[in-house]
């Protein structure tokens, strides 16, 4: 286990410093990347039994990514889906953000709709991030419920080589072609301060504001008073402030840190409908609009202690209190006078609670076998007003106030059968105050085939808990009967991944790495709204659906001197049976492709990096049920995101300038017939994806002393 310890120390004391030094002009050396996700202790990507994809700080900087949504658009197998309510969620293997878990420093981050899942990517600021680790597949043993399609683990920066580090930056972006200093574009300001009080005690603090003025796209903003579907914005304006702080105390074999975050966001939902309030007697009008401002606040506290005792025990314990609440402010806006004539504020949705996770390993001083045991417990109170439903036609009869206690224990063992072959079985029991006890199991294996070939197999399961909509929906009137179901069982996700990696190094100048992956995933007992009685028509959420996907992907990267080229290709099939109990259920596989490519070229003499990022999302197909109950194949058209950036440093790397263009192919929305037709709504014909070709400039200065 010396290896693990070495890497632990490496990360804690030197690894990050190395990263920090490389911050400006990266020279990729991905074989030495240290990953944390799913590991007993931080260790190299190469050694990991999981296939961990890493987005480094340098990658983030080259894209000038301010939040997760900026970044993930370029990742293979991930699609960022902005929703009409202003949030952007992950869609991975065709499963939405409820099936995907987002963690910060190994612990799930809270949102107003869940713990770890249903995270709005635009609310995840990246300024203090050291690297982002992505693992595909069900990770129930390691990360508990809802880690079905995969996880993202955001690793924050926890040390510095400088006594003082003061880093102000500004970033100006156009939103599509829209930009001015006043009411268009995106304006980001940030200030980070880091300080080493002594060799043991490090602290940092940062504050970022992100003022997104919305995307007009021919709409006319909030002051427009005609009722002709032009009022408001295509993308809602939002204003965010993030403040974070870290205190870290490190000893030789132990470290304790406290991480704090405060986040606040206002999202402005300007109603497209203008109520004219015509008065015939005077032939005048008094245009008003019913607008909503969503006000979100998040508090995040995480106290973590990790280290090792006398060669006998490694521990990593996190204790966290988190809270995110979203209030809605209903306004009646007098357009002509530019003032709200009535304002009513109420709690829309919230989650809060305590969380703790502990990992204990290295019980045996043994190179061959190691055990890890751990616990993960949380006690989360949730609240959702009757209006807070995923579908604006659904309703609950009353506000939902709910408490969910989760008490999980897990264990895994890593067996290094030989230097080449290691095996890692694991299991978790999930006890809960609401649902039957669940189990998750995993088995991972890594085999070094020699000559640069490595083979990994990862099998995992994870349950997915029902959402509030699924549990508590209640819409019953003379024409409708749609009900949630308190007897729902958690869905069961299962995945099998096979990875074959090949690394080729020629004369130390050229590195060539290729990974071939084959995967299969299924989700059983999927919850869907189904007809439970046809006369009278009654619909209820039930565990009926089956979802399967399989596919293969190949990713490849090449480093030669100052040139790095990487690319990936995924071919996958999805079979989704809507209501498996129905006679006409169609479980044909529907196929899709995704492709990405990333090229960067460094010119050391100029201290400049040129980068280009391309992601092609092939057409997506889905069976949709029309109102006459026939099932047809719907299609979402293909689209491509293409970004290009230039990054250059001046004054001994102290001053950094990053400029570039995002979404060069000017994608705004794609045509789709793949979204379902509701009771009242016709199939939507456009899936909003982006806001068109936009430009940015980021200026950053390092005051290091």
């Amino acid at each position: 286990m010396n290896f693990n310890i070495k890497y632990f120390l490496f990360t804690a004391f030197t690894g990050i410093c190395t990263q920090a030094q490389q911050d400006t002009i990266p020279k990729a050396n991905r074989l030495d990347e240290v990953v944390i996700t799913g590991q007993f202790n931080p260790q190299s990507v190469k050694k990991s039994v999981f296939q961990v994809n890493v987005i480094t700080r340098a990658d983030i900087d080259r894209q000038a990514g301010n939040n997760l949504a900026d970044l993930l658009n370029q990742s293979l197998n991930i699609t960022v889906k902005p929703s009409p309510n202003g949030k952007s969620g992950v869609s991975m293997f065709g499963l939405d953000a409820e099936y995907f878990k987002i963690l910060v420093d190994n612990i799930p981050v809270i949102s107003d709709e869940g713990l770890g899942n249903n995270i709005d990517l635009t609310q995840m600021n990246l300024d203090d991030v050291q690297q982002i680790e992505i693992v595909e597949g069900s990770m129930g043993v390691e990360y508990g419920a809802n880690a079905v399609s995969g996880i993202i683990n955001i690793i924050t920066k926890k040390s510095s080589i400088h006594k003082w580090e003061i880093t102000p930056s500004i970033q100006e972006e156009s939103v599509g072609g829209e930009y001015n200093m006043n009411d268009m574009g995106r304006h980001i300001q940030s200030l980070k301060i880091g300080h080493n009080f002594n060799s043991k005690f490090y602290a940092n603090a940062m504050v970022t504001t992100n003022d997104f003025k919305g995307f007009f796209n021919n709409r006319k903003g909030e002051k427009y008073s005609e009722n002709d579907s032009l009022r408001g914005y295509e993308w809602r304006p939002k204003n965010q402030l993030t403040a974070k702080s870290l205190l870290s105390y490190s000893l030789k074999n132990h470290r304790i840190f406290y991480k704090f975050e405060y986040f606040t966001e206002d999202v402005y939902n300007y109603n497209v409908t203008v109520t004219p309030n015509d008065q015939a007697a005077t032939a005048t009008s008094f245009p008003t609009a019913n607008d909503i401002t969503y006000k979100t606040k998040r508090f995040f506290h995480n106290l973590n202690a990790s280290g090792r005792f006398a060669d006998a025990l490694n521990y990593d314990i996190s204790l966290s209190y988190q809270e995110q609440k979203r209030d809605a402010e209903d306004n009646i806006y007098d357009i002509r006078r530019d003032e709200n004539i009535k304002t009513e504020r109420y709690r829309y949705e919230s989650r809060k609670g305590v969380y703790s996770k502990g990992n204990f390993s290295n019980f045996l001083k043994n190179e061959t076998i190691d055990f890890l045991v751990g616990y993960e417990v949380s006690d989360i109170s949730g609240y959702a007003s009757v209006l807070a439903t995923g579908d604006n036609l659904l309703r609950r009869s009353e506000n939902t106030d709910n408490k969910l206690g989760s008490y999980d224990v897990f264990a895994a063992t890593e067996i290094n059968i030989s230097n080449k072959f290691s095996l890692r079985p694991g299991a978790r029991a999930l006890f809960s105050s609401m649902f039957d006890t669940q189990a998750a199991v995993s088995l991972s294996a890594r085999y070094d085939l020699g000559r640069g070939y490595e083979l990994r197999a990862v099998v995992g399961t994870a349950p997915k808990l029902p959402s509030y909509d699924e549990l508590y929906t209640y819409l019953k009137d003379v024409n409708h009967d749609v009900q949630g179901n308190l007897n729902l069982k958690p869905e069961q996700g299962k995945s099998i991944f096979l990875h074959l990696n090949k690394t080729f190094i020629a004369e130390n100048k050229m590195q060539f790495r290729t990974k071939f992956t084959a995967f299969y995933m299924d989700v059983a007992n999927r919850i869907e709204l189904v007809i439970v009685n046809s006369t009278p028509l009654q619909l209820q959420f039930n565990n009926v659906d089956i979802y399967r996907t399989f596919g293969t992907s190949i990713t490849s990267s090449m480093d030669y001197d100052n040139l790095t080229i990487s690319g990936g290709f995924t071919f996958s099939g999805v079979s989704k049976v809507i209501d498996a109990t129905a006679a006409d259920a169609n479980d044909d596989y529907l196929y899709g492709v995704q492709l990405n490519s990333n090229v960067s070229y460094r010119i050391p003499k100029w201290k400049t990096v040129f980068s280009a990022f391309l992601k092609y999302n092939g057409p997506e197909y889905q069976f949709v049920t029309l109102s006459d109950n026939t099932i047809v194949k719907g299609k979402q058209n293909d689209f491509t995101f293409f970004d290009a950036t230039i990054r250059k440093t001046f004054a001994k790397d102290r001053f950094e300038v990053t400029a570039g263009a995002r979404n060069l192919f000017n994608v705004i929305a794609v045509n789709t017939t793949a979204s379902g037709a509701g009771t009242h709504t016709a199939a939507s014909t456009n899936q909003l994806l982006g806001y068109g070709r936009s430009y940015f400039l980021k200026l950053l200065y390092h005051f290091n002393f």
Partner: protein
């Protein structure tokens, strides 16, 4: 440093191409004072009456309106007087900061019984000047006529009762008469004219199914239980339109068949009493029209001479109540209530209403009966008909008598129906208006204006209408 300037320049150039001002509309609007109604009926003005004017917005400072008086065959002090006095032919009505409505007093001196000459008398009041310290305009209802003629038009806000929509409101356009009745005050309506037909209260989503039995006492809950899930509104079964009255208003196609003089032809019906008026406060923009189930009855209707005989009982009762119900020739129907066990008055006389605002059982073709709110019916049974005009053909203001096409009228009471409002945006469609022909042959044009109040709450309809001239 050079490079820095270079980048900044590059960025500024990019901005120059992308920067553009957002579109701003001219939001200024003049201050207006207009009459609340286009005409006033002298026969309803006994002694002193208020003539109201509306301000386009709350006045921010004091001001006044100058009104000109134009009598026709009428004489000041003899036939009428006003306060303030208008003996000189004009008078001034002041308003104060904060006011939104003002009025003056009209004193009618023409006394009953009216003689033929009286009916030629009228007085027109016209706004000729508005004194106010910002931009003003004379527009809208700039004059009003006090006389013996029919209504020239008005803006009305039928009180259907907010989001529970508990009322049925009947409106007579030519007299501006509004009659309001609570929806659940009646259950059955017995047709007065010619046919022997009985309607059920569609505003409560009632439904009726003919049974095979002719002996009402032999029908039990057990024998009808198999039908109960189907005999309802909104079951999404195409065939269930048979359990409700023809939504188009055809009295020959009611859920209950023609009542026969031969008793053996008159079957027992299973009657779903629908839902009580909702009491929930729904989210803004939604309605809660249906409350709890009102239960079931079994009924059988016979004829006795020209009268109806209603037999009714609860499902498990082995006894029934029998009541004789006479026809009411001046009305469309004689209404009966199970609650009061008696005949009740609901609609005004059939010649005295044109429009009915009500919750309604309509159908979605292919999906069967479906409960609607915000519905507007025309009094088809009395012969009132409506057709729709799109503003792209002719504007509301410009539509004149020569534009009338009688061939467009159809025998359907749902022409306005629910097709005047968009529940998703909460607004009345502005691309359409309606032409109504009343039973006296008057044509009115009707423009629906709103179905929510200023806070977006449902159940507050508003419309304006004008006599087509």
């Amino acid at each position: 440093m050079k490079a820095k300037i270079y980048f900044l320049t590059l960025f500024l150039i990019a901005l120059a191409f992308s920067g553009c001002e957002s579109d701003k509309t001219d939001l200024s609007q003049p201050f207006v004072v207009g009459f609340a109604n286009l005409s006033h009926d002298i026969t309803r003005m006994h002694g002193q009456a208020e003539i109201k004017m509306k301000l386009s917005e709350p006045a921010t400072s004091n001001g006044s309106v100058i009104i000109k008086v134009t009598p026709t065959n009428a004489q000041y002090t003899v036939d009428f007087e006003t306060i303030p006095s208008s003996e000189s032919g004009t008078f001034e009505v002041p308003f104060l900061a904060g006011q939104t409505e003002i009025s003056f007093t009209y004193e009618n001196k023409i006394e009953q019984p009216y003689v033929e000459d009286d009916k030629l008398k009228s007085v027109r009041f016209s706004i000729i000047q508005i004194n106010y310290d910002s931009q003003v305009s004379i527009q809208g209802y700039t004059s009003t006529l006090v006389g013996f003629g029919i209504s020239l038009g008005a803006t009305l806000e039928p009180e259907i009762g907010g989001p529970n929509q508990g009322n049925q409101v009947f409106i007579d356009l030519s007299t501006e008469l509004v009659t309001t009745s609570v929806r659940d005050k009646w259950d059955l309506g017995f047709y007065s004219d010619g046919l022997s037909r009985v309607v059920i209260n569609g505003s409560l989503y009632m439904a009726a199914k003919q049974l095979d039995a002719t002996n009402i006492d032999a029908v039990t809950a057990a024998t009808v239980q198999q039908y109960q899930s189907q005999v309802a509104v909104g079951t999404f079964e195409a065939s269930n339109v048979n359990y409700v009255d023809a939504p188009n208003g055809d009295i020959g196609k009611t859920a209950i068949s023609e009542i026969s003089a031969n008793d053996n032809d008159n079957k027992v019906y299973l009657l779903n009493l629908g839902y009580s008026i909702g009491t929930d406060v729904p989210p803004v923009g939604s309605v809660a029209v249906a409350g709890s189930s009102r239960g079931w009855k079994k009924i059988r209707i016979l004829k006795s001479g020209d009268n109806y005989v209603l037999q009714y009982a609860d499902l498990n009762s082995t006894m029934h109540t029998e009541v004789t119900i006479p026809r009411s020739p001046d009305y469309n129907f004689t209404f009966f209530s199970f609650n009061t066990q008696n005949v009740v008055t609901i609609e005004p006389e059939k010649a005295k209403w044109d429009l009915n605002f009500t919750v309604f059982t309509n159908e979605i073709v292919g999906s069967g009966s479906y409960g609607y709110s915000d519905f507007v019916l025309n009094n088809l049974k009395a012969g009132v008909k409506v057709y729709r005009v799109n503003t792209s053909v002719k504007s509301f203001e410009n539509f004149a008598l020569t534009d009338i096409n009688d061939a467009n009228f159809t025998a359907d009471q749902r022409i306005i129906g629910a097709e005047w409002r968009d529940v998703f945006t909460g607004t009345a469609y502005t691309d359409r208006y309606y032409i109504l022909k009343d039973i006296d042959g008057n044509y009115y044009k009707i423009k629906m204006m709103a179905f929510v109040n200023q806070g977006g709450v449902r159940g507050y309809p508003k419309f304006q209408y004008k006599l087509v001239q």
